[in-house]
Each structure stands twice: as structure tokens, then as C-alpha cells.
């Protein structure tokens, strides 16, 4: 039976008088790849932070892998992981040391074996003994991705996972993620500005604007609904408030 991996209901986050997220509701089924799309300041990272428990919402409910994340986040945290450009790993530690520390934090049974497996899979063998701070941004992204896969998460939250990669490596990483998702049956929530990436990877897309959901559907349905050839055009229609005849937006 397919279950709900993420269930967000009426989630609101205010910072003083500023409403960053307003009455957000969506869900992601187990084994799905869901894309969070939106311009800068749309609330994608804030949403991911709340799902991880790094940020406490002002109101609303949040269930992750069947557990109330606001009350029992420590039940869930060993089973999920994330990667984001807004965080880093300690720069003076080597990549191997960083990954070893996180493997132990996540309680990985055989850290060395898992590390070797990921190093081979993500082609970071040669980076393992170098200080993390000395890596290029693309190399850092790959090591951070390895960190996010250490515990073979059932739910993986990715914020701009290929932002600093060259097209070849980015394509290779997408293939790797897709394979991981198929093998593990994992759910992936992906925040990205790369429309081609979202179109290729995601089963469903949640379009956000100024902290609200403005539309959600599969990429194919969105293309048809907006009468556009690419998701990028749909995205531009939404962020620029272009009115599309026949397009029905989700009211909140």
C-alpha cells in the first residue's frame, strides 16, 4: 500500500510581521519525486527547513513518514537526510573525516563500507583525503550529496542539488539520484531552479510564490494546462503573474 511520506497541512511561518509561508498544504507519496518550484523568496528553503525540524512553524501540522514531526522529530531524523547550499561541512576536516563523523551520527552500521560504496558511486574517491575547504564548489556538492545518502534515507530533501555542477556532472548526478530513488524506493523532495531537471526527475511539481502554493500537478499536466512547451515557460507565467486562459490555479 502506498503511504504518504510528507503531509503538510495549513503550515504557516511568520517572522515578526512578515509571513514567509502561508497556509501551505501538500503531500508526497512514498517513492515519489516531488519538485518544489518558485522564484527567490518563494519559501522553498523555509518549507524544507520546517520539514527537517530546523525551523519551528508558527502554525499547522506536519507529518513525515507517518510521524508528527513537530512532536517526535527524533523518531524520523535517522531515516531522512538532506543537502543544501545554505550549509557546509567543516572545512578543515577531510571529506573522509566529515563523512565518517556523519556516518556515526546517523548510526550507519558499517561506515567504512558505506563510504567506499558512495565514493565509488559518486566518483569522490580522489577527494576523500583532501580537506573539504580545498574542494571546488562542484566537488563539495558531490561530497555533500554523499553525506545526504549515508543513511540510505527513506526521505531525501534536496535544495538545489546540482546548482554548482557543470552540465555533464549535473546530468550524471541526476541519473544517480534517479537510480537511488528506484532502488531504495525513497521519496525525494527537490527544490530547484533548473526546470529541465524538475521536468526530468519529478513525478509532481508544487509551484510556490510568496509563501503560497499557486499550482501543483505533474509536469505533463502543467504543460498542457498552461499550453506551454517547457516547464520554464510555465514557471515564468506564474512568477510574472501572466494570466493564462483556461489555467486554473489552486486557491488558498
Amino acid at each position: 500500500m502506498v503511504e504518504i511520506a510528507i503531509k503538510v497541512e495549513n503550515l504557516t511561518k511568520k517572522f515578526g510581521d512578515v509571513v514567509a509561508i502561508k497556509s501551505l498544504s501538500f503531500d508526497a507519496r512514498e517513492g515519489e519525486i516531488v519538485g518544489l518550484l518558485g522564484g527567490n523568496g518563494a519559501g522553498k528553503t523555509t518549507t524544507i527547513s520546517m520539514i527537517l525540524g530546523l525551523l519551528i512553524p508558527t502554525s499547522g501540522t506536519l507529518e513525515v513518514l507517518g510521524t508528527d514531526m513537530l512532536r517526535h522529530r527524533y523518531r524520523v531524523l535517522p531515516r531522512i537526510n538532506f543537502s543544501s547550499p545554505y550549509v557546509d561541512l567543516p572545512k578543515r576536516l577531510t571529506s573522509r573525516e566529515n563523512l565518517m563523523v556523519y556516518a556515526k551520527l546517523y548510526g550507519v552500521a558499517s561506515p567504512q563500507d558505506r563510504l567506499s560504496e558512495l565514493a565509488a558511486g559518486l566518483a569522490i574517491d580522489e577527494l576523500l583525503n583532501r580537506p573539504f575547504g580545498e574542494l571546488s564548489s562542484g566537488q563539495k556538492t558531490r561530497v555533500s550529496l554523499a553525506k545526504s545518502l549515508l543513511n540510505e534515507p527513506e526521505l531525501l530533501l534536496l535544495d538545489e542539488p546540482t546548482a554548482s555542477l557543470d552540465p555533464d556532472t549535473a546530468d550524471w548526478v541526476r541519473t544517480y539520484l534517479k537510480d537511488f530513488q528506484k532502488k531504495r524506493g525513497a521519496t525525494i523532495l527537490l527544490a530547484s531552479h533548473n526546470m529541465a531537471e524538475v521536468e526530468r526527475l519529478c513525478d509532481h511539481v508544487v509551484m510556490m510564490k510568496r509563501g503560497r502554493i499557486v499550482d501543483r500537478a505533474s509536469p505533463a499536466v502543467l504543460l498542457e494546462k498552461y499550453g506551454r512547451a517547457t516547464l520554464e515557460e510555465v514557471f515564468l507565467d506564474i512568477v510574472r503573474d501572466r494570466s493564462i486562459p483556461g489555467a486554473q490555479q489552486v486557491a488558498h
Binding site: 503511504e3 517572522f15 512514498e30 528553503t45 523555509t46 527547513s49 527537517l52 525540524g53 530546523l54 525551523l55 519551528i56 513518514l65 507517518g66 510521524t67 517526535h72 527524533y74 523518531r75 524520523v76 531524523l77 535517522p78 531522512i80 537526510n81 538532506f82 543544501s84 545554505y86 550549509v87 557546509d88 561541512l89 567543516p90 572545512k91 578543515r92 576536516l93 577531510t94 573525516e97 565518517m100 563523523v101 556523519y102 556515526k104 551520527l105 546517523y106 548510526g107 580537506p131 553525506k147 527513506e154 524506493g185
Partner: protein, 277 residues
């Protein structure tokens, strides 16, 4: 996928030595990877000890009080360094995570804040030993003074100052988490506010009458009074020991509460993903 079974991990008191060990390992890697850092740890205590050791020798020849209490200044400076190093050990290790922009990664993992605090206390103890023991050993051939001759009372003094320094370090770390990296200089500064009231180099009776009760509200004041009694008269003042332990329990609880409160506030304000250089 399997349904989640409620486990003891859900309850607030769940504690994992493995995760504490992982964080200690993280700071050990940091130390191991930098020889200058290791040298720096023992450099300042050694310099302090040298200055105060020569001063002590001078006073020893010109003061009757010091004649009866040889080495008292060296013991004072070494024990002050225990408190200072312990405080810095917690604060700097904490700041390392902020400088590295690693807080978001850490607290999206199963690590609990109180497990991290325990790791900070442990690594602070290790850093303090690395810093102070070489200086204490050097005092033996240089000044023919061994602080280790105090015996068991030395362990009591050491542990009390270690815990007090760490408690202050936790509270300061909480403050830096609350206020941001702009307040990072507090990590070095706050402990010096405690120094004049601790009676490190002089008896508490030297302080004005109205200030003495305030001084005695600090565990460090009891420790340094006890240290002087042990060095001068060879006695262990048990009442001072009980006072310092009792006060330390309170200060450690306060430090931990301040740290956890700041962490909670940071989760409300979204600071865990934002903070860093």
C-alpha cells in the same frame, strides 16, 4: 515501507554515547589535523606559568608570606588556566560549527543538543589537559615546584574549575547562538569578568566586604581559597569543596538551560540554516 514503531528514542531523555563519541571524534580530527593548534593550546599556559613562576621566585625571596607558601602563585596560574581553557574549549568548539556553517547539517541529523553539549564538555576537558599538563610538568625542573604534590585535592580543584569554566562556556555559546557571530568575542571576554571575584592570586578577604558574598557565590572562589589552604597549610577544606560542588551543579544546570533555550530560539528564528561566516 514499514510502519514506524514507537521506541524509547522518542522520549526526551534518550541519550546516545555513540553520537557524543561522533562529535568528540569530529573535534579530535580538527585538533589532529593542525599542529599549530596543538602547540597553541599549551603555549599560553606555559608563557603564563613562566612569567608567574619568575615573579613567584622573586617574591619568595622578599616576602615572609610567600616564604611559607612557595609555589602558590604557580598553582594559582595553572588552576586559573584550567578554568580559562575549559571555558575556551567549549566556546571555540561551538564557534567552529558556526564558522563552518555546519549547524544545519548537525541538527538535521539525529544529534540532540544536549548530546552536543556533552561532547563540548568532553573535548573541553581534553583540550584543557593538553594545554595545562605540559606547563605543570615544566614547572618541576624550572622552579622545583610540582602541583601534583597536592595529591587528591588537586583532582577536586581541577574538576571543579573544569566544570565551572565549561558551564560559563555553555552559557556564552547560547548567547552567541542567540545574538549571532557579531557577539563571538564574548567567548573570550566573559570568563575574565569572573577572574577578579575568584581570588585567584589573593584571598577573598582582600575584596571589599560587600563584594565578598558575591565572590563566594562563585565555585571558583571556594576552589582558590581551598587551593591556598592546601598549598600553605597542607589542609583540605572540605566545606569549601562542598560549596564549590553544590554551586557548580547549579551553574552547570544554568549553563545547559541557557544553551538549550538559545537552541530553541534559533529553531524559531530559522538561524540554524543561516548562521556562518
Amino acid at each position: 515501507m514499514q510502519a514506524i514503531k514507537p521506541s524509547h528514542a522518542d522520549r526526551g531523555y534518550y541519550f546516545s554515547p555513540r553520537r557524543v563519541g561522533a562529535m568528540v571524534l569530529r573535534y579530535f580530527y580538527l585538533l589532529r589535523g593542525s599542529l599549530p593548534r596543538i602547540i597553541e593550546l599549551s603555549y599560553w599556559p606555559t608563557m603564563q606559568m613562566l612569567i608567574w613562576g619568575f615573579m613567584s621566585q622573586f617574591l619568595y625571596e622578599h616576602s615572609e608570606w610567600f616564604f611559607r607558601a612557595g609555589g602558590i602563585l604557580i598553582a594559582a596560574v595553572l588552576l586559573w588556566d584550567v578554568m580559562f581553557r575549559s571555558n575556551i574549549g567549549v566556546s571555540i568548539s561551538f564557534l567552529e560549527e558556526m564558522w563552518s556553517r555546519n549547524l544545519g547539517q548537525l541538527f538535521a541529523s539525529p544529534l540532540r543538543p544536549y548530546e552536543w553539549a556533552c561532547a563540548l564538555l568532553m573535548i573541553s576537558g581534553i583540550r584543557t589537559l593538553i594545554g595545562v599538563v605540559p606547563a605543570a610538568l615544566l614547572a618541576i625542573p624550572l622552579y622545583h615546584y610540582s602541583i601534583f604534590e597536592m595529591g587528591l585535592p588537586l583532582i577536586a580543584f581541577f574538576m571543579n574549575l573544569l566544570i565551572f569554566g565549561a558551564a560559563v562556556g555553555l552559557a556564552v555559546s547560547g548567547l552567541v547562538l542567540r545574538c549571532g557571530l557579531g557577539a563571538e568575542s564574548l567567548a573570550w571576554a566573559v570568563i575574565f569578568a569572573v577572574a577578579p571575584l575568584s581570588g585567584i592570586y589573593y584571598p577573598i578577604s582582600t575584596l571589599p566586604d560587600w563584594l565578598q558574598p558575591i565572590a563566594y557565590s562563585l565555585p571558583s572562589a571556594h576552589v582558590f581559597e581551598g587551593m591556598r589552604a592546601a598549598a600553605r597549610d597542607g589542609v583540605f577544606l572540605f566545606d569549601r569543596f562542598v560549596w564549590s560542588v553544590s554551586l557548580n551543579m547549579g551553574y552547570l544546570a544554568l549553563g545547559m538551560a541557557a544553551f538549550l533555550w538559545a537552541f530553541r530560539v534559533a529553531r524559531h528564528r530559522g538561524q540554524l540554516l543561516q548562521m556562518g561566516e
